[in-house]
């Protein structure tokens, strides 16, 4: 079975993010492979445990950060990785990124494509399904369980919706997005970390892909960043129950709420 995993480098959840201007964020230089993408990698590795003949390719599109994400994939156990494009993709919209990824995937022809449910930075949850649409293949999002039978060309999936699990069946090729619970990312052994440190990450420039004249930021435009309003002051009712009910009514009246 051929598996492709699509991954992305995002700011660490502890990194400081500040609105620098309406057009620009100031992000602390602490990046990691997106949380759900690591689950996607682990899910692919789990399939290979059961189907050792499986070929896994991890792909990331973008600038230097994409290379770092791919190094992480190598550390976790994926030997075949591809870096698509360059820094120009960092400002591209999801639709264009999906288009670039899909063009490359047409050449690889994977049976199964696994992405994270959503990126750890913009939370769009859009790129995966868009790739599937470009490839004209089915997709299932937020997958929490996966049973595949490559010989029978069949896959059984569990999808978590509102606390319930929907079980679905599909044929290959298929794209899924990984939800927490699909797999538990492991801590890589240091031997793989060293291998990843020294790995040459092969790059495929955009001009080698069969891209038509599409605008990188055409259909979905980023207008501006704004800081969310500060939370209003919290007023604590100091009296014990039931006196605090009267205190609360008094407070609301005083502030013109009632």
């Amino acid at each position: 079975m051929k598996i492709a995993v699509l991954i992305k480098q995002v700011p660490d959840h502890e990194a400081l993010v500040r609105v620098k201007s309406e057009q620009e964020l100031d992000i602390e230089n602490r990046y990691v492979c997106s949380f759900f993408d690591e689950i996607a990698i682990e899910a692919a590795l789990n399939i290979r445990k059961n189907h050792p003949e499986s070929e896994i390719t991890a792909i990331s599109a973008g600038g230097k950060k994409a290379v770092d994400a791919l190094r992480r994939a190598v550390a976790l156990g994926i030997d075949q990785v591809e870096h698509l494009g360059d820094e120009s993709l960092e400002m591209a919209d999801n639709c264009y990124l999906a288009y670039v990824l899909a063009e490359r995937l047409k050449a690889i022809q994977p049976d199964l494509i696994i992405c994270g449910k959503q990126a750890g930075d913009d939370d769009f949850a859009a790129t995966g399904p868009m790739v599937a649409e470009y490839l004209n293949i089915p997709h299932v999002s937020a997958v929490v369980s996966l049973g595949s039978d490559a010989d029978a060309n069949q896959v059984t999936l569990g999808r978590e919706v509102e606390g319930e699990i929907w079980y679905l069946e599909s044929n290959f090729p298929l794209l899924i997005t990984a939800e927490k619970g699909l797999a538990e990312p492991h801590v890589p052994v240091v031997m793989r970390v060293m291998k990843a440190m020294r790995a040459q990450i092969p790059g495929i420039p955009l001009n080698e892909l069969d891209l038509k004249d599409k605008k990188q930021q055409g259909r979905l435009r980023r207008l501006r960043y704004t800081v969310p309003p500060e939370r209003a002051d919290v007023a604590m009712m100091r009296e014990p129950y039931p006196q605090n009910a009267a205190e609360l009514i008094e407070h609301l009246k005083k502030n013109g709420v009632i």
């Binding site: 990691v32 770092d68 190094r71 550390a75 801590v187 890589p188 052994v189 240091v190 031997m191 970390v193 060293m194 990843a196 440190m197 020294r198």
Partner: protein, 383 residues
């Protein structure tokens, strides 16, 4: 000049940080409270391959350079000072002489299982009457019947109560002082070798520390590690350089953890109607710490670079250790003041940083001894 880490080193750091965040940090408090050696965590780290990072690949190691190993020690110390001490003892001091001087048979019997985490090793310098003063070593090794007979007691031995083997510093000729010292391998099960009581420590808890007793312990000739007897001190300098820089970076890690926690606290804690981070006296603490921390960390990595380049850097390594551990003592003190009364509560981590920082003052030579050597060296300098 170039003060940047390479991309590869940054990647290595992020991988170690991830391992520390996921495996050690959730258990930091538990390790500190129980003061028990976390054997399961030890095995996990061994399986990940970290115990062999300084040894050759043919024995299961990775043979990384000094700077990469220092990145590992620095990140490790963010997790748990006690666990970090046990791991660094195994990687650095506990197996160093075996890897460098052991026969092939000894390496297969001791080093290979040590890298796999199946055997725990340690090194024994300190005695009840001597620590930094190696010339005061009273443990003796006497040549007899083609081997050596060791007698003495060693104190403050990290992982001593649980060790499977140890490298012991003993004098083969008490008249010669420092020039009469040698290292010997002693393995668990050797007649006359026993462990004493575990010491209850203020900090660095979870690295079980105690006494080792050598009562007519007979070891074969090949257990003398190094060329001929009497070269112990010469070899000690080689390993102490790395130990001192490692200690410096442990100090940087603890100081940084303490002040980062304090920064978060200062942003949230309000006094007189505003966060305490808005007050100039609190800001001054962060500014002073930042300056000291950057200087100490930069100098520690410079010393590591000098070791890697094979430069003579005995004094730079001493300076790095002194600078960083004193900076750490100051940082944990200032961080606890920012926490105020809460720094005195066991539920907050500041008390642990405060206790752990004290431990780093003594390993690799106490400051009073280092200062004496450094002062003398400075006075000898021409410029």
């Amino acid at each position: 000049m170039d003060f940047k880490f390479t991309e590869e080193q940054d990647f290595f750091r992020s991988a170690v940080r991830d391992a520390v965040d996921r495996l050690i940090r959730p258990r930091t408090q538990e390790i500190d409270e129980t003061d028990e050696f976390p054997m399961d965590l030890w095995k996990e780290f061994a399986e990940l391959g970290y115990l062999g990072i300084r040894h050759p690949e043919k024995y299961g190691g990775l043979d990384v350079d000094v700077i990469t190993s220092m990145i590992f020690y620095e990140e490790l110390a963010r997790g748990s000072c006690g666990f970090s001490m046990s791991v660094t003892m195994q990687i650095l001091m506990g197996t160093y002489f075996i890897g460098r001087f052991g026969t092939e048979e000894i390496k297969q019997r001791v080093l290979v299982p040590a890298i796999k985490g199946e055997k725990i090793g340690t090194i024994c310098f300190t005695e009840d009457q001597s620590g930094s003063d190696l010339a005061g070593t009273r443990t003796t090794a006497v040549k007899k019947d083609g081997g050596w007979v060791i007698n003495g007691r060693k104190m403050w031995i990290t992982c001593g109560p649980i060790c499977d083997f140890c490298t012991v510093l003993a004098t083969t000729d008490p008249e010669k002082g420092l020039d009469g010292l040698s290292f010997f391998l002693v393995e668990k099960g050797t007649e006359g070798f026993s462990t004493g009581q575990k010491i209850k420590k203020l900090g660095s808890r979870g690295s079980v520390t105690g006494e080792l007793i050598f009562d007519n312990v007979r070891v074969p000739e090949e257990n003398l590690l190094g060329e001929g007897p009497g070269n112990g001190v010469k070899y000690t300098t080689d390993i102490l350089n790395e130990v001192r820089v490692m200690t410096a970076l442990n100090a940087c890690a603890i100081a940084n953890e303490a002040m980062c926690d304090a920064r978060k606290y200062a942003r949230e804690r309000e006094a007189f109607g505003k966060p305490i981070a808005k007050y100039q006296l609190i800001r001054a603490k962060f500014a002073n710490h930042w300056a000291r921390y950057e200087a100490a960390r930069l100098f520690a990595y410079k010393a590591a670079w000098m070791i890697r380049e094979g430069m003579d850097c005995q004094y730079e390594c001493m300076l790095a250790k002194m600078l960083a551990t004193e900076m750490c003592i100051s940082a944990v003190d200032e961080a606890s003041r920012i926490y105020g009364g809460n720094s005195f509560a066991m539920e907050y981590p500041q008390q642990r940083y405060f206790r752990d920082a004290r431990f780093l003052l003594f390993g690799g030579g106490c400051h009073e001894v280092l200062q004496n050597a450094l002062g003398a060296a400075y006075l000898r300098k021409a410029h």
